[in-house]
């Protein structure tokens, strides 16, 4: 365990029920002959089990850094965090999370099925169990007919679905996604968002989702974490969602509550008072 992560599993009991607990996390990138870059400063965030949380903010606000710290791909300069009550490193080694990036990151020499099977293979799952699980996952993302295809034969959206299936391979209770739909066109993007909502409902996994699209964050999330750059900080956390009765479907995209939340997030991002809200709501098609 890194010396900078002072987290321990001493009070495990209180951590149960939360997928991620981040408290006072800062990340400073030292630079030679220039001021250090403060990517994150004093970030507190809790993600409950099964909760969908989006991190949104302009470039350089540290949202990807925060995600990478939760994934233990980076370590905080100060502060502490736990993932399912364990250190981030232990959670990574225990494969408590699945991860997807902006690039699908499929291995081009492996077929779709073999790409999905990769984490299972690396962690010693038997070939029979592997085959069954890959079958389930490809059904889940609707790519059963493409099991033997190779990534270069798939569209960007299909590649990203394979990457999501791969992230779900070991049934993680936490899914970390770093702008997974960022490279897709708007139409594919909306369809993928619908797919993701369905997949999350079926798996019950908590999700930390980095994006810079306001409508995307509002559509998908239970809570939208709004961040500002220089230094990267959380300025507010906005509750989102269709309410108790509604469902996250295309009707929700047209609902008044949706526009209201979009306006609220936009207002926070632009740092202006409520006067901007109406203008902001009109511009929802912008990312």
């Amino acid at each position: 365990m890194s010396a900078t992560t002072s987290d321990t599993s001493t009070d495990t009991a209180t951590d149960i029920g939360n997928a991620v607990e981040v408290s006072g996390v800062s990340r400073v990138f030292p630079r030679r002959r220039a001021d250090d870059v403060i990517a994150l400063e004093g970030v507190d965030l809790t993600v409950a089990e099964g909760e969908f949380v989006s991190l949104i903010g302009p470039s350089g606000c540290g949202k990807s850094t925060l995600l990478r710290i939760i994934a233990d791909l980076d370590t905080p300069s100060s502060g502490s965090l736990t993932v399912f009550g364990k250190s981030a490193r232990q959670a990574r080694l225990d494969q408590d999370y699945g991860i997807a990036f902006q690039q699908a990151g499929l291995l081009p020499w492996r077929s779709v099925a073999d790409n999905v099977a990769l984490p299972l293979e690396l962690h010693g799952t038997g070939s029979r169990a592997r085959k069954d699980r890959v079958g389930e996952l490809l059904d889940l993302v609707g790519l059963s007919d493409f099991a033997r295809a190779h990534p270069d034969e798939l569209s960007g959206g299909m590649q990203q679905r394979v990457a999501i299936a791969r992230a779900l391979a070991e049934s993680p209770r936490l899914l970390l996604m770093d702008e997974p739909f960022g490279a897709l066109d708007e139409i594919t993007r909306e369809r993928m968002q619908g797919e993701l909502v369905r997949i999350c409902a079926e798996t019950g996994a908590a999700v930390v989702f980095v994006t810079h699209s306001i409508p995307e964050a509002v559509f998908l999330s239970d809570r939208v974490v709004v961040m500002t750059p220089r230094p990267g900080r959380i300025i507010d956390i906005v509750d989102s969602g269709p309410g108790d009765q509604g469902r996250r479907d295309d009707d929700f995209r047209d609902a008044a509550g949706f526009f209201h939340t979009v306006a609220r997030v936009r207002e926070l991002l632009h740092g202006g008072p409520g006067a901007n809200a109406i203008a902001a709501a009109r511009g929802v098609e912008n990312r």
Binding site: L73, I99, F101, G105, L107, W109, L118, L122, H123
Partner: protein, 292 residues
């Protein structure tokens, strides 16, 4: 385009290339001045006499002639053939040694930055040493090695010298290849909690294939050149290198004869490059995404 048509096209283009070369040779021989093209006392193009430029068909007819005037001797063709096999064997061994050494160096350099800073300049420098300078050294050092009943032979020296040329492109190409995976892929491996060696076999080696294949082909060509030159400078009998020197001495009386082992050396090079092509076919799954 269908695959068969593509193959026919390739063969046709290759044949045309050879025919053009033959045509240029014969055309210059027929039309060029007998004393060659001389500008300000410098010979720019060679003489066109039969001594300097034998006809192409004479060169090829040499293969069926006997080596010398004694009765019952082998034909030039069969001598060159066995010399080619000998040279091919030594250069294949040299290639294999070079590939292993180059790959090991590349893995070490990819694993440890320190190894890269320490070794890469020397690896580059090693290729600036003229081969004829190290050939006698290798033979002298080698001749002191004998393990049990096994004694270092001149053949071993030749293969080692071939390996000395062959390892370089492999080391440099493999290093680039091992460094080629995307950051996303490396992050993924880290997220899976997989160690460096497992990552090497799952990710780095497969993604180095597009870099490795040209390096292996270059190594094959280098090892053939290394073998021929080493045969000459060590004075090893039996291979194409020695035959080139031997037949060159009879060029005065028989100008077409020295070309026979030269064609032999070319053939050895083609076979070596072709063998690497077969490796490339076997590695096809790892070459997806390469511009086809």
């Amino acid at each position: 385009m269908t695959r068969a048509l593509w193959l026919v096209r390739r063969i046709l283009l290759g044949t045309i290339g050879v025919l053009v070369l033959v045509g240029v040779w014969e055309a210059y021989k027929a039309l060029g001045p007998a004393n060659g093209v001389v500008i300000h006392g410098n010979t720019v193009l060679p003489r066109t006499t039969d001594l300097a430029m034998p006809h192409v068909w004479e060169m090829f007819s040499k293969f069926s002639d006997p080596v010398n005037s004694f009765a019952g001797t082998d034909t030039v063709g069969s001598v060159v053939w066995s010399a080619c096999l000998f040279t091919l064997k030594l250069s294949a061994i040299g290639w294999a040694i070079g590939v292993v050494v180059g790959a090991v160096l590349a893995v070490l350099m990819a694993r440890f930055r320190l190894a890269e800073s320490a070794m890469l300049p020397w690896i580059v420098l090693s290729q600036t040493v003229p081969l004829i300078a190290i050939a006698p050294l290798v033979r002298r050092w080698g001749s002191q090695i004998h393990v049990g009943s096994w004694v270092w032979s001149s053949e071993n020296s030749v293969s080692v010298i071939a390996a000395y040329l062959a390892f370089f492109p492999v080391a440099v190409g493999a290093l680039r290849g091992l460094r080629s995976p995307d950051a996303t892929h490396l992050d993924l491996m880290h997220a899976y909690g997989v160690g460096w060696w497992r990552t090497l076999f799952t990710l780095r080696l497969p993604s180095s294939v597009p870099y490795l294949l040209p390096a292996l082909r270059l190594a094959a060509a280098s090892s053939v050149i290394g073998t021929v030159v080493a045969e000459v400078s060590i004075g090893l009998r039996g291979g194409v290198g020695r035959l080139i020197i031997e037949y060159a001495q009879s060029a005065g009386g028989d100008p077409a004869k020295p070309w026979a082992p030269i064609f032999g050396a070319v053939a050895v090079g083609l076979v070596a490059a072709g063998a690497v092509g077969v490796i490339g076919l076997l590695c096809r799954p790892y070459r997806r995404g390469e511009a086809a």
